[in-house]
């Protein structure tokens, strides 16, 4: 019986190898497979692909688009195979340090230096620094997802609201620049509208979302997760103050029962006209202002500002080449092409989120894109932005802090206790 099994296994193995052999050998021309998310920025790249293939007749590009978690899992699996299944990957900022530590990414410095006119410094500094680990460049920026404050400008301009606010607080109604102002304005909108319009659509969902939103508040209060030396300072008084204000906002001015809200719900709330403000990715503004988009009749009434305090949470996607990629030169051809100044400009005009200063200051982009005010605001946001966490355990730190924050907003812990627990756990991870 065992002999039979053995023979069966051998037979199956041979069939398997035979099938593998039947696969066509890597064709010349080279085909690059790129893994990306299914987002509008990917669609933009898809549109530009024919130009790349025209300029590089030996290379074809296929894009495999899928949701975020799946992409990360598949990228990890691809790293473990002898030859990577993807030639070019995109890397989210929390993964960058960890992937580099695992020797998964190819260093790009020499390639950048030998590419003429590349101008690596043209990428906004906080954005490009994320791709630099241990002094070497492992990724070049693709698009940013920094947070901004999106408001219903028509509500701020409405004479009735302006008058009421002036009378109540002795100041003109304007997008807030401090946390206290923000809470006050949010509460104001809710009261004045008789509860029909909530002050802010918040995203306190456990994990990534709540931390992504709240860290802007932390920055505005003058705090941070860690100081320059790497000590955890999450449980300092300014952080507690920031969290208490956040909780106050949730309890008094946010839509009720929105504890598990993430990006989707907040966006829909704004689009449906039920909230006056939200902190969200800066490139959501064009989506909201699109007459054929989700906002419908409200399109055109939204405006983008920097978050209160001016320092925003930064997220980015970078292009990178896996260490075990089979055609690294071709991979770099694609990456250097898509991030070149000329193509970046086109990409931004088609609606992509910008990463190069030149693109954001280009009058043609202003004209064909979404207007000068928008791009100038984006540039301001990007210049003073910082990612949620850095270092090899970034994702775990984000999840831990996000769990504690959500527990505080849910009322299960006091703000002080939650931050202390979070800080202790982060310290443990950091080995402090």
């Amino acid at each position: 019986m065992f002999r039979f099994i053995g023979r069966l296994l051998m037979a199956l193995a041979l069939i398997g190898l035979g099938l593998a052999g039947c696969r066509p050998a890597t064709p010349a021309p080279v085909t690059l497979t790129i893994i990306m998310e299914q987002v509008p920025d990917t669609d933009v790249i898809q549109k530009l692909l024919p130009d790349f293939e025209k300029e590089n007749p030996g290379i074809r590009v296929t894009i495999d688009a899928m949701p975020y978690d799946a992409m990360r899992d598949k990228i990890l699996a691809s790293f473990m195979a002898p030859k990577a299944t993807y030639d070019v990957i995109i890397v989210d900022n929390p993964w960058m340090d960890e992937f580099v530590a695992g020797n998964f990414l190819e260093p790009l410095d020499s390639r950048i230096q030998t590419t003429p006119d590349y101008d690596f410094e043209d990428f906004v500094r906080p954005v490009r620094e994320i791709g630099v680990v241990g002094g070497k460049v492992y990724g070049v920026p693709f698009y940013n997802y920094a947070l901004g404050l999106i408001v219903r400008q028509d509500l701020f301009d409405d004479p009735a609201y302006r008058e009421a606010y002036q009378k109540a607080y002795g100041q003109p109604l304007a997008p807030p620049t401090t946390l206290e102002e923000y809470v006050r304005i949010a509460q104001f909108f809710k009261e004045q509208s008789g509860g029909k319009i909530y002050g802010a659509a918040m995203q306190p969902q456990r994990g990534y979302k709540v931390f992504e939103e709240w860290k802007n508040w932390l920055y505005a209060a003058g705090g941070n997760l860690m100081d320059e030396k790497g000590n955890v300072i999450l449980d300092r008084p300014e952080a507690v103050q920031a969290l208490n204000l956040y909780i106050e906002m949730y309890q008094t001015a946010a839509p009720p029962n929105s504890l598990n809200w993430g990006f989707d719900e907040a966006l829909r709330s704004m689009a449906a006209g039920e909230s006056a403000t939200m902190m969200s990715y800066n490139w959501m503004l064009p989506t909201l202002n699109n007459p054929q988009g989700p906002a419908g009749a409200l399109a055109g009434k939204f405006a983008l500002y920097e978050v209160p305090g001016g320092k925003a949470v930064l997220g980015t996607w970078h292009w990178a080449i896996p260490h075990n990629a089979p055609n690294k030169d071709a991979s770099w051809r694609f990456i250097s092409w898509v991030t070149s100044k000329a193509v970046e400009k086109q990409r931004v005009i088609l609606g992509g989120a910008p990463v190069r200063v030149s693109a954001m200051k280009d009058p043609e982009v202003w004209q064909k894109g979404f207007g000068q005010a928008y791009y100038e605001t984006v540039l301001k946001i990007l210049e003073d932005a910082e990612p949620l966490a850095r270092g090899p355990k970034a994702e775990e730190i984000i999840q831990i802090v996000g769990t504690e924050l959500n527990a505080a907003v849910a009322g299960e812990k006091s703000a002080e206790q939650a931050l202390k627990d979070a800080a202790d756990q982060v310290r443990k991870i950091q080995g402090q």
Partner: protein
């Protein structure tokens, strides 16, 4: 929903007796009607979402908007949706075929001969007790090294991991419900055990086979995790496509609704046909007496 369910659970025996005695068919229809409403309501919402123009999608309404077929067109014509459909069919077919072919005799052996004892019965469930997350990397490597990555075979093989044991287990329970007399009588009439199995026991177990087959199809049709990891552009299945509408930039509810309805309809049709196997009908004649 909650109060209704709790009420039903608490008053179950008394309610049933009372219904049968006093209301008969009318009462049954009422209860079934309520169940159907609870079942269908979310589907109605999905249907509405698939027909709403983008400006309406955020309003909690089921009607009162001008429906548009644009989203349906975009999904079916503007993306390789038909291919995903075909892939799901292929993977489902392979999975159902192999799991029934392999599971039915195994279930019979477990039920009649207690082959391997209770220990073996539980051992085959081992993989079902372990999370898919754990198997994904080994599966990926196996598929990569046999060159089967991004084919329907890899996905079907991953599905069989948990579907074949479950089908077997379900059929064991089923075969145990089929009385021994059938085969005994057939063997008295001169059949071997194997022929008795094929010609007498299997037909009597038709409802179970139908249910097991449908169950296998559903499990495979809906499986997303393995399909996500093992399939690429060519062998993507429907659940992967549906999940793909959940992007970093939010859920594309309109397109996802179209995908959901498109994925549900074929299974609905299949289940309707399998109903015939579930109804006892003429098969009951095999039971003498």
């Amino acid at each position: 929903m909650t109060p209704l369910l709790r009420f039903r659970v608490a008053a179950f025996p008394a309610w049933r007796v009372w219904t049968r005695r006093h209301w008969g068919t009318g009462g049954r229809l009422l209860l079934l009607g309520i169940s159907v409403f609870v079942v269908l309501f979310p589907f109605l919402w999905v249907l509405a979402a698939s027909l709403k123009p983008p400006t309406e999608i955020n309003r909690p309404t089921l009607w009162g908007f001008t429906p548009t077929g644009a989203i349906w067109a975009e999904v079916w014509l503007g993306s390789p949706f038909a291919r995903y459909f075909l892939n799901s069919l292929l993977v489902g077919g392979i999975t159902v075929g192999i799991s029934l072919a392999v599971g039915t005799p195994a279930a019979y052996a477990f039920s009649r001969f207690r082959t391997g004892g209770t220990g073996l019965r539980f051992l085959i469930l081992a993989a079902q007790m372990l999370p898919p997350a754990l198997f994904i990397i080994p599966f990926f490597l196996m598929a990569y090294h046999t060159g089967l990555l991004d084919t329907v075979w890899a996905v079907a093989a991953a599905h069989l991991t948990f579907i074949a044991p479950l089908v077997t287990w379900f059929l064991i329970g089923f075969f145990e419900d089929v009385p021994w007399d059938l085969e005994e009588q057939a063997m008295v009439d001169g059949c071997t055990r194997w022929r008795a199995f094929l010609q007498v026991v299997l037909p009597a177990a038709r409802p179970g086979l139908g249910a097991a087959g449908l169950f296998a199809l559903i499990m495979s049709w809906n499986e997303m995790f393995y399909a996500l990891m093992l399939a690429g552009g060519h062998s993507k299945t429907l659940p992967v496509a549906i999940a793909g509408y959940w992007t970093f930039r939010g859920v594309d509810l309109g397109k996802m609704s179209v995908a959901i309805l498109s994925a549900v309809l074929p299974v609905l049709v299949v289940s309707f046909f399998v109903q015939r196997f579930l109804i006892r009908g003429l098969g009951g004649g095999a039971l003498k007496g």
